[in-house]
Amino acid sequence: MADFIRNPVVTLPDRNPAPHFCEQELAFTEEEKTKIARWVSQYPTPDGAVMWTLWLAQEKFGFLPPEVLRLVGEELGIPYAQVYGVATFYTQYYKQKKGVCVLDVCTCFSCQFTGGYDLLHYLEEKLGIHAGETTADGCFTLQEVECLGACGSAPMLQVSNGPFVHCVTRARADALIDALKAGRMPEFASVTLPQDEDELGGNRRTDVAFCERYATLPIAKHTR
């Protein structure tokens, strides 16, 4: 019954995994150090810069294993425990290695009722993985996430903490996967305000049909 005790919603990473990066790799370049110094100067104490520095480290190394966290701590002069605490608090910092492209599908309520789970299950089937897993070739990780703040263009997803893809239909999901396989990230897409459509023209969805209802259950049987 107490599912959440056995399967916590946010799993903690392995505390002492085998190091992934060797000593030589673990260093910031001069250019990165200037960036970090600028962030540090913007806050009363260096602690404030830890989130920006973790973002930088994640961009550089792809994910944040303990040795990278230690590097960040040393760079800022703050304890490893604090950096570890921050990194494990936020969902967007990857504690484990992820695929090259991370697909964050929003399934929160606005998306849920306009096809978020349909999209998630469609991608699960297409990629042959369950939500939370990575494909065998290491190309894609599929995740279910909470509201991404684009409920008006639901269902939607985010690619690798970067661009949003709005109003995703099956055809658009197929095209997206093909483009990502070819190494093309989606561009920043601006969704026009509905009130501007008459005056400024718009790019709002016309293919409502796909998203008319959610057909699949919130958590489909096959994901368990």
Partner: protein, 430 residues
């Protein structure tokens, strides 16, 4: 019918006006409101104007903004003061701040500068959620241009007033929207909300006096300065005046963010603004202000307008004005299951009633949704709500309890239908 929103069809937008490329500094213009403030008013006068305009916070709690500014303690030499602009926006169903950052970032920045002047702060931290990476890039570029034009930074426009804006990128935690949690997050800690009091005005970031406002709230300030407090107070519902960004989502024909005066009829917003329900279906439920506010049944919205007073009477709240419309085929148990899952995922885990309570809520609702629940579970859930409310550090536990209680009370039939089917199936009855 005359509504509080008045003649809303001919309303002229001020937060998201229909101007192409407004996000560019060259199109937006050179911060006329800031110039006026620096030339003509003292900080106290600015706070007074905002107080007179009746502007209330758009971040969820609806606290009067001018009043909040006047809570800042007197200036002491050597004690820095801060402003935080809350652009965390993770409340499900809310997506107005993102549109503001995309289409009119300079108005928000100008509002920040004016607020900085009013509370004599030297730095504003603009906290934007990590998912909005593209929007952070956009704001960074525009902010750099504003720095170049000497609209931000040292000795702004030669007036001797200096202030900085620092963009801080979050990393995906809903709780960072809570004001004290946001401050912990800025300080580079795990974002655990703090116990209040002391309130942020006394002891905020790094223990210094801090004021925190939503991005949308601050974007309302420049028009108030330009056109006067009376003009602003005259828009929409008295007691909660001003333009509101209604974020409409769900089963409507034309979802999106709409700017209209406060006090719009919910029925007007649905039928005339958002183009009615998809496929001509009937309305079943409305969530008027983000996931945290109690859901309203379709028969409860007659004559209800979108302002704090009217919604309170109807048994809900304005929240963030992120409205979700659900049609007749919606399964309210599935709805509640997803809402409880959200709160379980986002609870920071500091207080036991919230950390465990949200988990048990999700468990119980999931059990009902899967047809394995019984009627006693409903009462257990209601009891759980009572045990969680008002016993925690921050309001997330209350925000989790309200939708649970009200969805069960207002849609009890839906829940009972799912419960009963598991207790008296055709076989056992026969």
């Amino acid at each position: 019918m005359a509504t509080k929103a008045g003649d809303w069809r001919s309303y002229q937008r001020v937060l998201l006006p229909p101007v192409r490329d407004l996000h560019k500094l060259s199109v937006y213009g050179d911060y006329a409101a800031l110039r006026k403030v620096l030339a003509e008013y003292s900080p106290q006068e600015v706070a007074g104007i905002v107080k007179k305009s009746g502007l209330r916070g758009r971040g969820g709690a609806g606290f009067p903004t001018g009043l909040k500014w006047s809570f800042m303690p007197p200036i002491k030499a050597g004690v820095p003061r801060f402003l935080c602009c809350n652009g965390d926006e993770s409340e499900p169903g809310t997506f107005k701040d993102r549109q503001l950052m995309e289409f009119n970032p300079h108005q928000m920045l100008e509002g920040i500068l004016i607020a900085n002047y009013a509370i004599t702060a030297k730095t504003c931290y603009l906290y934007v959620r990590g998912e909005f990476a593209d929007w952070i890039t956009l704001i960074d570029a525009e902010l750099a241009k504003a720095y170049e034009a000497n609209l931000v930074g040292d000795n702004i426009m030669g007036t001797g007033f200096s202030t900085d804006i620092v963009v801080h990128k979050g990393a995906g935690a809903y709780i960072c929207g809570e004001e004290t949690s946001l401050m912990e997050s800025l300080e580079g800690k795990r974002a655990y909300p703090r116990i209040k009091p002391p309130f942020p005005a006394q002891s905020g970031i790094w223990g210094y006096p801090t004021t925190i406002n939503n991005a949308d709230t601050l974007a309302c300030v420049p028009p108030i300065i330009k056109r006067g407090a009376e003009w602003f107070a005259g828009i929409g519902a008295p007691g909660h005046p001003g333009p509101i960004l209604y974020g409409i989502s769900g089963h409507v024909n034309c979802p999106g963010v709409y700017e209209y005066p406060s006090g719009m009829l919910i029925t007007d917003l649905l039928e005339e603004v958002a183009g009615g329900m998809r496929g001509g279906k009937a309305l079943k439920a409305v969530v008027p202000g983000g996931a945290s506010v109690p859901v309203l049944r379709a028969d409860m919205i007659d004559g209800v307008t979108m302002d704090a007073g009217s919604l309170k009477k109807a048994g809900s709240m304005l929240g963030t004005a992120g409205m979700l419309f659900l049609d007749e085929d919606t399964d309210m148990v599935a709805f509640l299951r997803r809402v409880t899952r959200f709160y379980h995922h986002e609870s920071c885990g500091q207080c036991t009633p919230c950390r465990d309570g949200t988990g048990w809520m999700e468990n119980l609702v999931t059990r009902i949704d899967e047809g394995e629940g019984n009627l006693r579970d409903l009462d257990l859930l209601l009891d759980l709500c009572n045990q969680m409310e008002g016993r925690t550090v921050c309001a997330l536990a209350d925000a989790a309890a309200w939708p649970v209680r009200n969805t069960i009370l207002r849609f009890r039939k839906d829940f009972e239908a799912k419960c009963r089917s598991s207790m008296w199936t055709a076989k056992t009855v026969a």
